[in-house]
Symmetry: none
Subunit: 209 residues, 2 copies
Amino acid sequence: MRIRVAIVDDDAELGANLRSLIDGAGDQVCVGTYPDSDSACKVLLRDPPDVVLMDINLGRHSGIDCVARLKAVVPQVQVIMVTVYEDTERIFKALSAGATGYLVKREVGPELLEAVRQVMQGQSPMSGHIARKVVEHFQKPRLAGNSPEDLTPAEARVLDQLAQGYMYKEIAANNGITLDTVRTHIRSIYQKLQVHTRAEALLKYLGQS
Amino acid sequence: MRIRVAIVDDDAELGANLRSLIDGAGDQVCVGTYPDSDSACKVLLRDPPDVVLMDINLGRHSGIDCVARLKAVVPQVQVIMVTVYEDTERIFKALSAGATGYLVKREVGPELLEAVRQVMQGQSPMSGHIARKVVEHFQKPRLAGNSPEDLTPAEARVLDQLAQGYMYKEIAANNGITLDTVRTHIRSIYQKLQVHTRAEALLKYLGQS
DNA sequence: CCGTAAATCGCATGTAGATGCGAGTTGGAT
DNA sequence: ATCCAACTCGCATCTACATGCGATTTACGG
């Protein structure tokens, strides 16, 4: 069974190119190309393909909205963004909306066929620099933050669990220490973090203020 | 100039294999292998390589701690985790600590050499399933979500201030309402958010913006 | 006009969290 | 040997938070 692929791109020429590329692969077949979000949704919601290749820049509605609409109804469809945009904003919005792959257009070619196979296998094909931006998203908080890490190992462990919503008694049980010891650690943490409540500690530890 | 690569892995045999793999590539050279975090940091902090291949499972200190120590002093070093662990927890911790690549051990081979080149070019090589987990992190909120916004305006206002660390009495004063009214709103919020403590509410509210 | 949703307020009770004070143990550095 | 930092535990007290139950007012749509 060939992988059923749909294409949403307002550039007719590029859409046609993608189509022949897909159909050229033995294991994939293009089941439709659509120039805008509305026409795409109308058909794809009824007869969902396995994979959708989505351009971001569609006329009225952006491709990101289209992703959201599709995933809301048929969450099993795999969406790969195929676009020229590399700005952080669009990348995150697309991923949040439900896309699982993100390729920049200048890299389309055989890699695209491979990317289609990969999303079907539970992977997330991304162009190299896109992946880096995604990874950096996890690092910013830590790096941008001041350095509240004169916390001792035990304190850090407690804070981490505190930040996951555990109650004092749960933290005590998790670590085989008493409730009073948890209190002691938290006392030190609050002092070092310059806070007086759990909520403030969470804010400092998670985001930063 | 060949890319200088260091290896940190407590499995001597695997370390040696990696070394010969690296040295076998024409454009890379292994400048050292270390079995634990301490010995690695001692040398690498003075004479930083371009790239570090890091195992997570080192004896006493985890490789994640080692990453944090290295990046804190020499942030320009590129770290690629090379490990058997694929659980979400470890992946995020490693990336947060400053790793920019994450490969699972069963996929090491020529891909590793390519990964080294990629991190030097500002990319983030990741094994396919790892990338997917990272991407899902952006989607979880929407998928796992109950509806965050059937909150009434008043409730939303209260929640927002709650999430900024204000005490009940401060929220009451800020909005010209009584403490009991604040309690009432928060009661509704908790019900709608399916939580029972302030900490959980904060996590839900902040975690899915 | 009536029902409903939203917003407001009150009271009571129980649990979780914050903090002051004290103190014993241990591994490592001087 | 000594000291210190980190970790541990206990108790008491006060404040903040969570929740059950009830109640009034206002605004909007049927």
